[in-house]
């Protein structure tokens, strides 16, 4: 791992991001109707005002110039103006990022804590009855539609038992940690269900591969106890294939926990996306999609760095 590698990777991401922005820009311009159609037939908005809006959003310029203007706003400024609220896109996104990071971070943390031992155990006891049962359960976790499990949780814990708030991020006037955790409990569970399931599969299969390697057999031959071998030697290497998946899943949750956030009225990025879609807020949609894509690109780079840290055989430079 060297600094030059990092710089090279980051520099390599720039053309990728440009490509992404071009494709997104093209898709958004494919959309039937333009952003000002929101106002076009509103008699309350005079032609004069409409012209103001068009100038304000730079919509009177040729498309390539619009792209460059937008690019400039992305790099240097406020990412353009939201049509729905009139405020800067970046500011709106940042306001929503906090709740989403809380939700996503918590879900990721719990998933990792659960999936790691689960996957490791299943690999070490491959074929055992418990492995089969856990395998079955993790597939079940992947196969449950998110909104369905969310609805059932709400029914049980909010309506029947009345012990958890069914939606929202916090109670008004209650900033306590307990209150926050109560609100987090169900959305985090719903998000974690699927990720625990898929990650433990990846960790299990990585572990199965590693445990078959010669150096592990050598360790056994040297008389190390089983769990000592698994944890000291194998886990590090078994994590490697799972790292990318974990990094990408994290970004996926941040850019698109649309369903969970809608059901639990969580004021995050996913909700903002749906609201912006209903309001045809193109600058906001562009901003959100770019942020998500940027996240994926960065996640890949970070995953590579973690690879190198986990596996001393990988040397970039």
């Amino acid at each position: 791992m060297s600094l030059t590698f990092l710089i090279k990777r980051l520099a390599g991401a720039i053309p990728l991001l440009l490509g992404i922005s071009l494709i997104l820009f093209a898709i958004i311009h494919l959309a039937p109707g333009g952003p000002t159609d929101v106002y076009a037939d509103n008699p309350s908005v005079s032609p004069e005002a409409l012209q103001q809006i068009i100038t304000r959003f730079g919509l009177d310029k040729p498309v390539p110039e619009q792209y460059l203007l937008w690019l400039k706003a992305m790099v240097t400024g406020d990412w353009g103006l939201s049509i729905r609220t009139g405020r800067g896109v970046l500011g709106e996104i940042l306001a929503r990022l906090g709740p989403t990071l809380q939700l996503g971070g918590m879900a990721m943390g719990i998933s990792l804590i659960v999936a790691l031992p689960l996957g490791t155990y299943c690999a070490a006891r491959r074929g055992s009855r418990l492995d089969t049962a856990l395998t079955f359960l993790s597939f079940a976790g992947i196969s449950l539609p998110v909104f369905w499990s969310a609805l059932l949780l709400q029914l049980v814990f909010s309506v029947w038992l009345g012990i958890l708030p069914s939606a929202g991020m916090k109670s008004i006037g209650d900033g306590s940690l307990i209150d926050r955790l109560q609100h987090l409990a169900m959305p985090v569970t719903v998000l974690s269900l699927a990720t625990i399931a898929s990650w433990s599969r990846y960790i299990r299969s990585g572990m199965v591969d590693v445990l078959a390697q010669d150096y592990i057999r050598t360790a056994y031959a040297k008389g190390r106890r089983e769990w000592g071998v698994v944890i000291a030697h194998a886990l590090r290497n078994a994590m490697i294939p799972a790292v990318t998946v974990i990094a990408i899943d994290f970004v996926t949750i941040i850019s698109g926990a649309v369903i969970t956030e809608t059901v639990f009225a969580w004021p995050g990025i996913g909700r903002l996306f749906v609201e912006s879609m209903n309001g045809r807020d193109y600058p906001m949609l562009m901003g959100l999609m770019m942020m998500g894509s940027f996240g994926v690109v960065m996640a890949n780079i970070i995953a590579d760095i973690i690879y190198a840290a986990l596996d001393p055989r990988i040397r970039h430079g």
């Binding site: 109707g33 159609d37 929101v38 076009a40 037939d41 509103n42 008699p43 309350s44 908005v45 005079s46 004069e48 005002a49 103001q52 809006i53 304000r56 729905r84 609220t85 009139g86 405020r87 709106e92 306001a95 929503r96 609805l151 709400q154 029914l155 909010s158 309506v159 009345g162 708030p165 069914s166 939606a167 929202g168 991020m169 008004i172 809608t262 059901v263 639990f264 009225a265 004021p267 995050g268 909700r271 903002l272 749906v274 609201e275 879609m277 209903n278 309001g279 045809r280």
Partner: protein
């Protein structure tokens, strides 16, 4: 998903009608006491708290920001920040000599203060007009601003508005939506002001916390200007909290779990379930609104009266009503029966699919092998738009589709959400569209069915009807208005640009212990007068 109901969908009021001495006051007995929190679930996410730029009806805003006048539960305008509603009789409205322009004088209520303690004056009224009119301010509704040439403020409590025309609808827009504080906003950019999150008004409640996508907290204004009939200082409630809950299922879950106390637009088909929740009740409130299906005249097949008549003879309203929990009522005229101008002799079409089939046969539309009629290779197959995600509307759509299929007309759903639905509706990007209009107390129908009507997305044009509108909307003589209103209803019923199907009613779910609640049928929402609401026990 949310339904976007905007102020634009309302109609303009007319100047006719005597000054009313009624107030917004509820008629109930003495309140038992102060205190309590009311938690309301909103089905949409509030975009901005500014009443002029929000794309939704201003439910939460109505508790904070007040206008000069407001409609009461009977949709009559009553004074709020003005001392009386200006009329010709009380001298508040003066027509110019040539009867082409008018001057409206508001006498303002003395002793009213903004939430920050500064006095409310006529300068605020003038500022509101200037600010909303400013083209740099991006607003959802600027209705009425262009009709005023200038505003004079001879003293702090008098605002004289010089209109450049006789504007019958002056009460339903601008100063009714709300007054903005000049001392806080002058010289700021209204598009980005913090006013859009925590507006400062004169209302019974003050916006203390706005969390985007979560909730708005409105706390009791201890210095509110109004008192109850028994002398109690208003308002009673300590706070009203509006929660934004975009998912209908979640909203109903929250009612069941007792996390919210009230929702104002209950889906019809969910009312029965909610009524079973202990402590909850369903209130059916009237709305100046009706549900209808419109035809697009750009489609030559739909421009054929015979096809439209086939629809009118086939759609069974009783089934639609049943599917909507029995709440709406069948109508035959675009004028909802509560209005005095409603004409009960408006012709209706008897429910008779066989007759519809005969009409189509006679017009040359013969049944094809695929169960769809056609004439000269043109199939009677139409694109049918409703607002996506509204279960009530999608159910109505499916029933109409099934009924029309029986007479050989195919309808293909093309539902749109949010702005896309509105756009389709105004631009005529449909063959058939189902929806509703909400109006103010004195509706003007030319906006929907006049050739140049701004809400006429169906490209419908009937010069005879235009002439009737011209008479109706430029006359203050009740007899003339009644006569031409009848003509209008007959022409629309015979020409069938639209089929009025059912009334639209508000189904409000609330806790029983919330007292003094009176539903408001207008676009100013149920929250236009919250000062006297209180919680029992």
């Amino acid at each position: 998903m949310t339904m976007k109901m905007t102020r634009r969908t309302m109609l303009q009021g007319a100047v006719a009608g005597a000054a009313t001495l009624a107030t917004l006051r509820a008629t109930t007995a003495d309140a038992s006491g102060y205190g309590g929190t009311l938690r309301v679930g909103l089905s949409y996410e509030i975009d901005t708290m500014n009443v002029y730029s929000t794309g939704y009806l201003g439910d939460a805003q109505a508790t904070i920001v007040e206008g000069l006048v407001a409609p009461n539960d009977k949709a009559d305008y009553v004074p709020v920040l003005a001392l009386e509603v200006p009329t010709l009789e009380n001298g508040g409205i003066v027509l110019s000599d040539d009867k082409k322009t008018m001057t409206v004088t508001y006498k303002l209520r003395p002793g009213v203060t903004w939430h920050d303690g500064k006095p409310f004056t006529s300068a605020d009224v003038k500022y509101t007009w200037e600010a909303v009119k400013d083209p740099a301010f991006i607003a959802e509704s600027k209705d009425g601003t262009a009709d005023i040439d200038s505003i004079e403020t001879p003293d702090d409590l008098t605002a004289i508005c010089h209109y450049n025309k006789v504007s019958p609808d002056f009460k339903s827009t601008l100063f009714t939506f709300g007054i903005m504080p000049k001392h806080l906003l002058e010289g700021t950019d209204l598009n980005t002001s913090s006013y859009n999150q925590t507006p400062v008004g004169t209302g019974p409640f003050m916006a203390t916390e706005f969390q985007q996508g979560q909730y708005v907290v409105c706390k009791r204004n201890p210095n509110y200007w109004d008192k109850a009939a028994n002398g109690d200082q208003l308002p009673y409630l300590d706070e009203i909290i509006f929660y934004m809950l975009p998912d209908t299922n979640t909203m109903i879950t929250q009612l069941k779990s007792g996390e919210i106390d009230m929702i104002v637009r209950t889906p019809y088909n969910q009312a029965a379930q909610i009524a079973m929740i202990p402590g909850m009740e369903i209130i059916k409130g009237p709305l100046l609104s009706w549900q209808h299906v419109d035809f697009n005249f750009r489609n030559p097949l739909l421009a054929d009266l015979a096809v439209r008549q086939a629809f009118a003879h086939t759609i069974d309203r009783s089934v639609l009503i049943k599917a909507q929990g029995g709440f709406p009522e069948a109508i035959k005229s675009v004028v909802v029966p509560v209005f005095a101008l409603y004409d009960d002799t408006t012709p209706s079409y008897d429910l008779d699919p066989a007759k519809a089939a005969k009409i189509l046969d006679d017009a040359g539309y013969t049944m094809g092998g695929d169960g769809v009629r056609a004439k000269g290779g043109q199939r009677l197959s139409f694109k049918f738009v409703v607002s996506a995600g509204l279960s009530d509307d999608e159910n109505v759509q499916q029933i109409i589709m099934a009924q029309m299929k029986a007479v050989g007309i195919e309808l293909v759903p093309d539902n749109q959400a949010g702005v896309a639905y509105r756009e389709a509706r105004y631009k005529g990007n449909y063959d058939l569209i189902y929806g509703r209009w909400i109006t103010s107390a004195d509706p003007v129908y030319s906006v929907f069915y006049g050739t140049d009507g701004p809400n006429n997305g169906q490209a419908y044009s009937n010069p005879k009807l235009d002439a009737v509108f011209d008479t109706l909307e430029h006359s203050l003589d009740p007899a003339v208005r009644k006569q031409s209103s009848s003509e209008m209803q007959h022409i629309i019923a015979e020409d069938l640009p639209t089929i009025p199907l059912t009334t639209n009613v508000a189904v409000i779910a609330k806790v029983k212990k919330l007292m003094n609640f009176v539903p408001n049928p207008t676009n100013m929402t149920n929250f236009v007068h919250t000062a006297e609401w209180y919680m029992e026990g």
